[in-house]
């Protein structure tokens, strides 16, 4: 994976596959503490203790097309090489909480990447005809906060318009890019 936004996209897809109705993604960049923390919390079906214990193992997966699963191991590698850590907690039928920590200034820390594209892909994946997944994306840089909550967008749009509509997605993309620019101090 070239950047962190791609890891986030990949791991949040797991939340969608786990049947989550709400996926909360939070990114906190604290340059004073020199720490970057990414949390992905969902209310999906969760994992039992046995599966959770071996979930970091690349030879453990729920996919049926082959016997390796690299999403979590790749994120673990990305954290480990930056003096960080990856913690996953889960409870069956309650949900899963994932926390990835990086040393912000570490030379091997992958760049953030394009979070607008990641959110758009996720919202599109989560707005299938048969089910709706909501997302909360919160990004904090040294105390400055940007937040996107698809439940608010859904309320504003009404029930008959799907979040996956191109017009809506393009608005969300601009909204995220503008919001991130603001918390980055206009850059």
């Amino acid at each position: 994976m070239k950047d962190l936004s791609l890891h986030i996209l990949d791991l949040s897809q797991n939340s969608i596959s786990a049947g989550a109705g709400l996926v909360e993604i939070s990114i906190e960049e604290d340059t004073k503490e020199d720490r970057l923390t990414i949390c992905i919390n969902d209310n999906g079906k969760g994992m039992d203790k046995d599966f959770l214990e071996k979930v970091m193992d690349p030879f453990v997966t729920t996919r049926t097309s082959r016997r390796v699963g690299l999403g979590i191991p790749l994120m673990l590698a990305a954290c480990s090489r930056c003096e960080g850590e990856l913690v996953i907690e889960s409870e069956k039928n309650v949900g899963t909480r994932l926390k990835a920590v990086f040393k912000h200034s570490h030379i091997d820390r992958a760049p953030m990447g394009n979070m607008a594209e990641t959110m758009l892909s996720l919202i599109l994946a989560g707005s299938d005809v048969n089910r709706n997944v909501d997302f909360v994306y919160r990004h904090i840089i040294d105390g400055r906060v940007f937040c996107l909550d698809t439940r608010e967008i859904r309320t504003a749009l009404g029930n008959d318009i799907n979040l996956g509509e191109p017009e809506v997605l393009m608005w969300i993309k601009d909204y995220i890019n503008e919001g991130l620019k603001n918390i980055r101090g206009g850059v």
Binding site: L6, L74, G164, V168
Partner: protein
């Protein structure tokens, strides 16, 4: 400054086109978005397809995502389902190939043979 209020305008504007899309008799474009696809560059491909659909106002086309279909070395993979036609699988797609696929296959009905899985395995 983007505001939530703008969504009201989008709502009014899109209500009509949505009704066309609801009958779901149109084309389906499916992009592989598992770890393998994402690492190979599926995200920009997906968003390029979205952009093209919006640009050309293709109201009867839907874009969907799928997991790994077991051919990771050929990712990004894009499958096109047109009603009454056989599925076409495009492999090693990038944004510029995606634009051609939409412009030629989706809009004009001409399969871009050179990008298909058949051409790749030759």
């Amino acid at each position: 400054m983007k505001t939530i209020q703008e969504l009201e305008e989008i709502r009014k504007k899109t209500l009509d086109t949505i009704n066309i899309r609801k009958d779901r008799s149109g084309t389906r474009i499916v992009v592989g978005m598992a770890t393998c696809g994402i690492a190979a560059g599926a995200r920009p491909v997906l968003l390029t397809i979205m952009d093209e659909i919006k640009k050309h106002d293709l109201s009867d086309v839907v874009v969907a995502q799928t997991g790994c279909i077991g051919m990771c070395r050929l990712e990004p993979i894009v499958e096109v389902y047109k009603p009454g036609e056989e599925k076409v699988t495009y492999v090693k797609v990038n944004p510029s190939k995606a634009i051609r696929i939409v412009n030629e296959h989706i809009m004009k009905g001409k399969v871009v043979e050179g990008y298909t899985i058949g051409a790749e395995s030759k």
